[in-house]
């Protein structure tokens, strides 16, 4: 199939590994899905310390379930990316550990206090879910299938995140202050979650033309604002003055894109931010620490009866 035919046929779940896809499509899809997979993993690592730091048993259970889900999303997505035949999962994990792999801006910043957790678990998961819901219609079938399961699970993440937010917002004066502080710090990053504005985005056109991407960055960001600005207000959070958020005539919202720090965004995008090194370093060390597990599994697979023996219970 050539690129022209791909563009002509591009539609929801249109292409699968049974189709002979041009290299340009396979590379673009790999870049997009690998980025998504990496982000699931890096998000899980950012939240992992809060399994231990949860203030109650209920929160601890929910947080550990969420972190486990995110790692699972990463695994599903690496499979979807692998099915394009460009990179193996090992290569992608190696790239993530050595700092070549790219991932979402929000996961390059350290998260230190419990009051920050709803910034990820409600706002970032909410933003991600908004985007993922549109990707159920992506043209690469294995990616769309991964989105079916991811979206099924994510409702729990977002509602649990909002539950923490509600609890803190109704807490002591001190809780409310710390929550507002966290919000001031995270809000601009959250707005940049959807990536550069359409006129600065480099990969959008092709990904949209071949049906990989269903909505532009700006459309997604605005849709997110419409749902989440009222939520922030409901919990008494004050929207920072900058970046300026403007209300359209029809009651929907948009952000003044020029108010956002795109230099910082592109530094983050290159894995060159302070936090980038820290987060990637942590991931790298963990990857190395469990290398022996992968080695044992690989040895087992290579033995003649490997994999065909009785399955061990988990």
């Amino acid at each position: 199939m050539d690129v022209e035919e791909v563009k002509e046929r591009a539609g929801p779940r249109e292409f699968s590994p049974a189709d002979d896809m041009p290299e340009e499509y396979r590379k673009a899809a790999t870049r997009m899905i690998q980025f998504h997979a990496n982000s699931e993993i890096m998000g899980a690592y950012l939240e992992r310390p809060f399994v231990r730091q949860s203030p109650s048993l209920e929160r601890k259970l929910a947080f550990s379930a969420k972190v486990q889900d995110e790692i699972g999303h990463g695994q599903l997505l690496y499979r979807a990316a692998e099915s394009l035949g460009v990179k193996t999962r090992d290569e992608m994990l190696e790239e993530l550990a050595n700092g070549e792999g790219k991932f979402l801006n929000c996961f390059h910043y350290p998260m230190d206090s419990w009051h920050e957790t709803p910034m990820i678990a409600f706002f970032v998961d909410g933003a991600a879910m908004r985007r993922q819901a549109t990707l159920k219609k992506t043209s690469w079938e294995p990616y769309a299938h991964a989105m079916d399961k991811v979206c099924f699970e994510e409702g729990f993440h977002v509602k649990h995140g909002e539950h923490i937010l509600a609890e803190l917002a109704q807490g002591s004066k001190k809780d409310q202050e710390k929550l507002q502080e966290a919000f001031d710090e995270w809000w601009p990053r959250i707005l940049q979650f959807f990536g550069p504005t359409d006129d600065k985005s480099t990969h959008h056109d092709f990904a949209a033309d071949v049906g990989l991407k269903q909505m532009s960055n700006d459309e997604l960001r605005n849709a997110f604002l419409n749902a989440y600005v009222p939520k922030a207000r409901k919990y008494g959070l004050e929207i920072p003055e900058y970046p300026r958020i403007e209300e359209n005539d029809d009651g929907t919202w948009k952000v003044r894109e020029d108010d956002l720090d795109w230099d910082e965004f592109f530094t983050v995008a290159k894995n060159d931010y302070e936090g980038s090194h820290e987060q990637i370093g942590k991931r790298h060390d963990t990857q190395e620490a469990v290398e022996w597990v992968r080695d044992v599994l690989d040895d087992h697979e290579q033995r003649p009866m490997g994999g065909a023996g009785p399955a061990a219970a988990d």
Partner: protein, 105 residues
């Protein structure tokens, strides 16, 4: 040899198990699967898989989803509004449907 057959109705949908055929090799299995399973119902693609390659674990072997109360991992547990975002409401509804068909409540 027996081959298990999976049928996909339209591009993008899931291949689901629809039966099996007797065949001496994969080529013949694909042919027989077409005749048996691909003619009357809408078919976009068929997979054939040698039956010995299909390994099973069922609910007698294991407790799927564990044996302890895991309500903390379901959206419906959290008494905050899901209707503000279509995708959150959809996810909650899908989870509720799954809980019902698992017979959880």
């Amino acid at each position: 040899m027996i081959w298990e057959v999976f049928r996909q109705e339209n591009a993008g949908e899931y291949h689901t198990h629809c039966g099996n055929v007797h065949a001496p090799d994969a080529e013949m299995a694909k042919l027989f699967a077409q005749i048996q399973h691909g003619r009357r119902k809408p078919t976009h693609s068929l997979w054939v898989v040698p039956q010995p390659e299909v390994h099973e674990v069922d609910d007698e072997d294991t407790a799927f989803g564990g044996t302890t109360d895991k309500s903390y991992r379901w959206a419906v547990t959290y008494d905050v509004d899901a209707s503000f975002a279509q995708e959150v409401a959809d996810s909650e509804r899908e989870q509720e449907e799954a809980a019902r068909s698992r017979g959880d409540d």
